[in-house]
Structure formats: C-alpha cells, structure tokens
C-alpha cells in the first residue's frame, strides 16, 4: 500500500478509535455534554476524511455508505488482513 494512502487510513483509524471510545463512554454517561460535543466534533472530522479516502480509493463501508467508480471498487485488494503497515 502506498505511503499517502496508508497515512490517510491510519488517521481515519485513529479518529475511528476516538469516536468508538467516546461512544462507549456516552452509553453509560448520556448526559455528559462535553463528551457529546467531542463525539460530534470527531464524527464531523471522520465524515470529511472518509469522504476524501473514498473519493480516492473506493468505498470504506459497503451497502450504500460510500460511492464507487467503475468497475466496482469494493472488492479491490488489499483487504484489511492483507494490509501491511
């Protein structure tokens, strides 16, 4: 995998993890307004970065959550277990 692609993916992975951690915390602290603000901020950043990645490399999420160019990009390798970091 090319360096610029790997770097963009690693940034998405880091933000995804932040969103997941905030999500789990909010599940048991639904009235923590500061955590909620952070969650929405990270979600916005993720939305932008995911769009950038998907425009360049195809869908990151299937079933209608990302556009594909021709031919169908979803099946393009590498799959996650084949990626070298």
């Amino acid at each position: 995998m090319r360096r610029d692609r790997r770097e963009l993916l690693l940034r998405i992975m880091a933000l995804d993890f932040t969103a997941l951690e905030l999500n789990l915390y909010l599940d048991t602290h639904p009235r923590d307004a500061r955590a909620l603000e952070d969650y929405n901020k990270v979600t916005q950043e993720l939305f932008t970065l995911r769009q950038e990645y998907q425009e360049r490399y195809g869908p990151l999420i299937h079933f209608g959550h990302g556009f594909s160019k021709y031919p169908w990009q979803w099946i393009e390798e590498p799959w996650p277990w084949e990626m070298t970091f």
Binding site: D16, N23, H65
Partner: protein
C-alpha cells in the same frame, strides 16, 4: 443490521512466520475467553437488558469484539500464511495443519473447538453483567499470558492494545451494572 468497515481497528504487523505463536494466539479467536465468545455473549444478552444504557453498551461492546476477532484473525493469518511445512512441524502446529491447512478455525490453544458453553445468557441483567465483568478480566489475563509467551515485539504491540480494551470494557460494564442496580432499586420503591 451490521456494516463492515474495510479496515482493522488496530494496524496489525508481524515480524515473520511463527506457527508456534499463532497456535497460542488462536485461543483468543476460538477459546473460552476469546473474542468470538465475547462478541456473541454480549450480542445475545442485549435483548433482555432492561435499560437503554445497557442495551447500548452491550450492542457496542459486542460489535467492537467482532473487530477484535478480526485483529486476532489477522495476526494468526499473517503468522502462518508463509510458514514452510518444516516450520509448522517443528513448531507443533502439524495437528492443526492436518485439519485446517493454514485456514482460520475457532479453537483454543490446545485445539479444542469453540462451544456455546463458553458463554452465558441468564435473563437476569445483574447476573449477566457480573458474568461479563468476569469475562473481561479472564480475557485480560489471557492477553497477559500471551504477552509473556510472545517472542515477536510487533505481535506484542497488538496484544497490548487488546489487553487495554478489556480494561475499558470492564469499566463500562461496571458502570452499566451500577445503572441497572439503580433501576432495580427504583422499581422496588414505586
């Protein structure tokens, strides 16, 4: 409904083929305290949870465990995919090879297949949440024993990440248990 995101939760790297390490790590794929057990335990208990916080926590942690199952699978896959047969034999993975070649299968470190008896779903939310807190601690211990065994520093990095997640889940289940206990107390009063 579930969605697949075409990336790992944590970037997996291995130093090279190592069937011996794969044979031990695979217990977190299909062993009693492994990620399949964890995911299915939470995703099946969530239906009878009484409060929204508990339904959310079990859904989300159960989903994260699937991502952990994928990390463990990626570790095992990369540790055995280029291993020559001689190494597979020398590392004691020949029995596994006889049944599965280099494919992934749900077994523990000594080859026992996964079984539904690894999980519990009792219907009493307090019972289930105690079960889950114990399960997270057992998984944390297993990751610690695997870290002690590991002779590949890159694999150890991923094992440390997974160990850390067990601690966070234990914390979240503890909070969920408190919320369910408060809910149960309120029910008694009114």
């Amino acid at each position: 409904m579930w969605l697949y995101e075409k990336k790992l939760q944590y970037p997996v790297r291995v130093s090279g083929p190592n069937p011996w390490l794969a044979k031990n790590i695979i217990t977190q794929y299909g062993g009693p305290d492994g990620e399949l057990s964890a995911s299915l335990r939470y995703l099946t208990q969530r239906y009878t949870m009484p409060i929204p916080e508990a339904k959310g926590t079990l859904t989300d942690i159960g989903t994260e465990e699937l991502a952990h199952m994928e990390i463990v699978a990626a570790l095992v896959y990369n540790l055995i995919k280029d291993a020559p047969l001689e190494q597979i034999k020398a590392h004691g993975m020949d029995g596994y090879y006889a049944d599965h070649d280099r494919a992934l299968y749900f077994v523990d470190a000594t080859g026992n297949p996964w079984t539904a008896t690894y999980i519990q779903s009792k219907g009493d939310p307090i019972t289930d949440l105690y079960e889950n807190m114990a399960a997270e601690e057992k998984a944390r211990s297993t990751y610690e024993w695997l870290i002690n065994l590991s002779d590949d520093p890159l694999v150890t990095e991923a094992l440390r990440f997974l160990r850390m997640r067990e601690i966070v889940h234990f914390q979240r289940f503890g909070e969920t248990l408190r919320l369910v206990q408060e809910w149960a107390d309120r029910k008694k009063i009114y």
